[in-house]
């Protein structure tokens, strides 16, 4: 457990945070104050290793805003993290479903985001 020192890219840190339940061991990604399976609280906070497997991928050509158009095309992936949760991130254009990947952090728009390369 790494509670207290967890880096979370959605809060400006260069890391992927996730939570798990101290009662039923369920693991999940979107931060909340209780376990969405059994309701126990508070959950444990963890730092992910950044290793995982590509579950789905799309190359986005049509960006939603002028600011992000400079980045297009960009690959959005859903990655199954080794720790047992799924997250959305960016990745190298040639990533395919099933690829083993490792995370680094890159600037995108006004923040740092997770970016996966082949492991």
């Amino acid at each position: 457990m790494t509670q207290g020192a967890v880096l979370d890219w959605t809060a400006g840190g260069a890391g992927i945070a996730f939570q798990s339940c101290r009662a039923c061991s369920h693991t999940w990604y979107f931060r909340r104050g209780f376990c969405p399976r059994c309701g126990a609280n508070p959950p444990a906070e963890h730092q992910a290793s950044g290793l995982g497997t590509v579950h789905a991928a799309t190359l986005v050509t049509r960006a939603p805003s002028e600011e992000l158009r400079a980045h297009a095309p960009y690959l959005i992936v859903l990655v199954d993290a080794d720790e047992g949760f799924r997250l959305m991130a960016h990745g190298a254009h040639d990533l395919r479903i099933g690829a083993r990947v490792r995370c680094r952090f890159v600037p995108f728009g006004d923040r740092l985001i997770p970016f996966f390369d082949p492991a």
Binding site: Y29, T61, R86, R111, I113
Partner: protein, 377 residues
Amino acid sequence: MSYVTGVGLTPFGKLPGRATLDLMSEAAAAALADAHLERADVDGLLCAYSTTFPHLMLSTTFVEHFGLAPTYAHSLLVGGATGFAMAMLAHTLVEARVARNILVVAGENRLTAQSRDAAVQTLAQVGHSEYEVPLGATIPAYYALVASRYMHEHGITEADLAQLAVLMRRNALAHPGAQFREAITVEDVLASKPIASPLKLLDCCPVSDGGVAFVVGREPTSASRVRILGAGQAHTHQYVSGAPSLTEFGARASVERARSHAGVELSDVRYAAIYDSFTITLTILLEEIGLAPRGEAGARARDGYFDRAGRLPLNTHGGLLSYGHCGAGGAMAHLAEAQLQMTGRAGARQVKDASVVLLHGDGGVLSSHASLVLEAR
């Protein structure tokens, strides 16, 4: 017991000079006329939402604007599933004798009221505001992620998806109100502008202005005899990152609930009205519901199975892909068309047999599901 006693549908596309309440009013007036009802007969009102007129109290705003005094009114919001969820609620309220004639109405000037970027950004907000939207994700991207996985698991090609776009366009050619009325081929779809792979422009429904309404009543008030036999829903997640699966959604469970209420088998269904925000949406829904075997929706479309004269006519107005998509009204156009088919009023688009109809819609990213079974009496 409840009946869809009247329907009203505006053309979809670019309708300049008409705001949300105008489009809602136009559709509502048409639906009341079709049901042979006056405003004073309406004792229930269900509204949806409008992204271009995000009022906190859309239903009472419409009550005042249109000139109603219902005993029951509110809005309901489950994205693309809203139209059929409102029909389910209207059916339930009528059966519970809360109201006798419920007007269900939605409309939005989604195309002319804002820039394309604004529409894309507004719709992207169905994704997670902290974990997904900052990545530059859009609605097409969410569905494209689903498509990549579903196609991977079931051996579906981009040409298979394209068959459904071609079918919806062919259907739209016969409807004067459709937004797109130029024939397209599989090659056109494959060569259209990339949006979010594997989805290209012609795999995506357009953004449209439009309005749709229908009346659900305790008894028929016109010559139309269309009964709501059953309804069901299923809700499994909101965000694509949190979906339990990218290949199994809530569609089957929702349809099974509707079917078991209705007491009909899938094989009894003669006409299908299925949500088609993207070619992949229609593919997955048809296959998960069981209207096509896994991986074969495109082949069935190619072989004429879903044609107007085929085994199971589908979205004969052209669907979201070609009639257009104005928000909550999008799926309601499927219902309006189904009611016309069931009452023999679809003109050049009339199918031989629309005695039993299955409708299914999804909202979010295949997150929220609502299904209906209708029967022509």
